[in-house]
């Protein structure tokens, strides 16, 4: 009998092999492994894990269905709260959400809730278990802006209630960060994202790609000229930040967004696609979040030696532990307590290196994290041909600046009520990264649900 304090290990692609390909790193559980892991769950009455999940999935509920081997039922339980389980099971920071609250975690390892959720969702995708469609439409037209997790969830929920929903997406592919940001090796596009989107389509949601709201048309025009009665804004936080240090416009300096978009959305890693990428031989990724890990692991797979340059220490890395662990296994080098001062440029305008300075941690600052301070005189130069800036993103002002009466805050985020997504403008709702700033898939999904609820409350009264 296996040690109940330990999780059933999940099979993964070997680190050396996967560092050279874009196939998914984690293989996930099979039926036998899933049932064994499920048996570790104590089916707590007052399940703490549920409090840790932003959309309050009935975790013991679905896990007990796995114990019985009834995966279809397990899928239905998850479906009551989550629209994109195959995605959340893969990319949720479970260690700081559902799993960190699990009772099993006190003495041993918490139940692998994420991996179990993923197993159930993948089973549903493979066996083509369909969500339940509305019997007939109720005649109300709703527009959703953006096809990321918040928009997809809002659209799906409204369609189930019978609304006629059209999603407008600026890019040529659907999925938001799920297709342009998070890499293939963490979240397969054809196998997972596309299929989850197919399900939303099957609910009757219409999609129009290549429509940039604020340019191709505006929110006011959608309501006045195209008779949409309500609008949900799920446009994300896509605007990349730069450091403002010398040399940042040199050739070979990219935002993580550009580097990842070229590789993921435009598939530059596949030579049958036309879009090029300057992959680099020696790459520095500046930053320590999930996005930085993704950029670093992408560059690695494109053949580069990769350094993460981060100004605090390992304990403060904002990225998920699993991602840091995977990055290290694959051979990404961590230059911690190090901060860039200047990018060095050759006579043709290309990056040739970076001047950095060593840092030490001082007293905790307002965020509670110890503040990094420069160590005087500790500058040195590293030789590089590529620098990827991964310093965070903020919401694109395009929609706010073209919509009359839509209030934003100092951080350029749209102001909206948490429980129903209502903005300062009548009939306009918002949620996800556009409201919170860069956050997580599951929070965006939760906000999409709240927005759908708000819109339903408004329109069902009409």
């Amino acid at each position: 009998m296996a040690d109940v304090l330990k999780r059933v290990p999940v099979r993964e692609q070997d680190a050396k092999v996967r560092a050279t390909n874009f196939e998914e790193v984690c293989y996930g559980y099979n039926m036998e492994e899933a049932m064994e892991e499920a048996s570790r769950c104590l089916n707590c009455k007052n399940a703490k894990c549920i409090q840790g999940c932003p959309v309050s999935i009935n975790i013991p509920g679905f896990i007990s269905k796995i114990k019985e081997g009834n995966i279809e039922e397990a899928y239905k339980v998850i479906g009551e709260s989550s629209a994109l389980p195959a995605i959340c099971g893969r990319v949720c920071p479970q260690e700081s959400q559902c799993e960190c609250k699990c009772i099993r975690g006190i003495k041993g390892e918490p139940v692998s809730i994420g991996k179990l959720e993923r197993f159930v969702a993948d089973y549903a995708l493979e066996n083509d278990i369909k969500p339940v469609k509305a019997e007939k439409t109720n005649g109300h037209k709703v527009a959703v802006i953006g096809s990321g997790p918040s928009g997809l969830t809002c659209a799906g929920d409204l369609a189930k209630l019978g609304y006629e929903v059209t999603v407008f997406e600026a890019l040529h592919e659907l999925g938001g960060v799920l297709v342009y940001g998070i890499p293939e090796f963490r979240l397969p596009k054809q196998k997972v994202v596309k299929k989850e989107i197919e399900k939303v389509k099957e609910l009757g949601v219409k999609f129009e790609t290549n429509v940039v709201i604020g340019k191709s048309t505006t929110i006011d025009q959608l309501m006045e000229e195209e008779d949409f009665e309500a609008v949900f804004i799920g446009s994300g936080a896509g605007l990349p930040m730069f450091m403002g240090i010398p040399g940042e416009t040199a050739n070979g300096v990219f935002s993580a967004n550009e580097y990842l978009t070229r590789s993921n959305l435009m598939k530059a890693f596949d030579s049958s696609y036309d879009t090029p990428i300057a992959a680099g031989k020696k790459v520095a990724v500046v930053g320590g979040g999930n996005v930085a890990m993704d950029a670093a692991r992408t560059a690695l797979r494109l053949g580069a030696e990769v350094h993460i340059v981060y100004r605090r220490s390992e304990a403060e890395l904002p990225a998920r532990v699993e991602e840091v662990h995977h990055a290290k296994e694959e051979g990404v080098i961590f230059d911690l307590l190090t901060n860039p001062k200047e990018i060095l440029v050759d006579e043709n305008g290309w990056v040739k290196g970076m001047k950095v300075i060593k840092m030490e941690l001082g007293e905790p600052d307002a965020s509670g994290r110890r503040r990094p301070m420069e160590i005087p005189g500790s500058e040195y130069e590293i030789e590089l041909d590529t620098v990827i800036m991964s310093l965070g993103t903020s919401p694109n002002p395009l929609i706010a600046s073209t919509t009359k009466g839509l209030e934003t805050n100092r951080r350029k985020c749209i102001v909206a009520e948490e429980e129903n997504g209502q903005t300062s403008k009548a009939c306009v709702f918002a949620g996800g990264d556009a409201v919170t700033g860069a956050a997580t898939v599951i929070l965006a999904m939760g906000a999409g649900k709240a927005g759908a609820k708000g819109i339903h409350e408004l329109l069902s009264r009409k």
Binding site: H172, V212, K215, L239, T249, F254, E258, D274, T275, G349
Partner: protein, 295 residues
Amino acid sequence: MYKILKAEKLADMIYLMDVEAPRVARHCEPGQFVIVKMDEKGERIPLTICDYDREVGTITIVFQTVGASTHKMAELKAGDAFRDFTGPLGCPSEFVGEDIESLKNKKILFVAGGVGAAPVYPQVKWMKEHGIDVDVIVGSKTKDMLILESEMRAVAGNYYPCTDDGTYGHAGMVTTKIEKLAEEGNKYDVCVAIGPMIMMKFVCLLTKKLNIPTIVSMNPIMVDGTGMCGACRLHIGDEIKFACVDGPEFDGHLVNFDEAMKRQQMYKTEEGRAMLKLQEGDTHHGGCGHCGGDK
């Protein structure tokens, strides 16, 4: 899918197409651009809107074959279609929002180089429609490369063609024509220059001397065209701007052209580099070995 209703070769390596894109046609203004993508595996290619028909719902694009993608695009015929056609992107030209009466009191000069005649055309047409006659200089290497002549003549006040080899109109570069017009006593309040970066750079050096405020349309490398990637960033004075959302038109006297030209090289293919060398002469730094596009 976005159907091509007309495909025409205007000159050697220069093509015109009318494409069905009703949403774009309904809302576009002079100065804006679109991003087109031919098929599943194609690149996203930015092209300026050259003309539009709001009723029929079409956009006219004019492009020059530069590298692999534009060559492939040149093979498309009427009846074919683009998989993706996004727009209008970027900001309309500044004058679109200006007071017409005050515009009428201004003396405006447009300067186009090569395929730059295409983006200049809708602006000059807009002026004509609002009762404003402007001067237009169009430069090309040789007579056969001059495009949109009759269209431009129909909407321009004075039309001055120039050819580098002297086969038509004024013999010499557009800058020498500007100097000549200034010497003849023309006092311009504003100049709009669109063409290869190298041309815009030299026009700006000259108009700075002549004290003519100058607007240029920048064409850096782009990916999304919505402000998401930062590939299109430029130095405008001390500030960093994204050409796709803050531009593409900027105060030419503040643009750092040397940097912008270097950035444009980043993904050049062999054909692309050869083409740019032709366009941009001695300022081209080929063979850097860093090019990721040579596949």
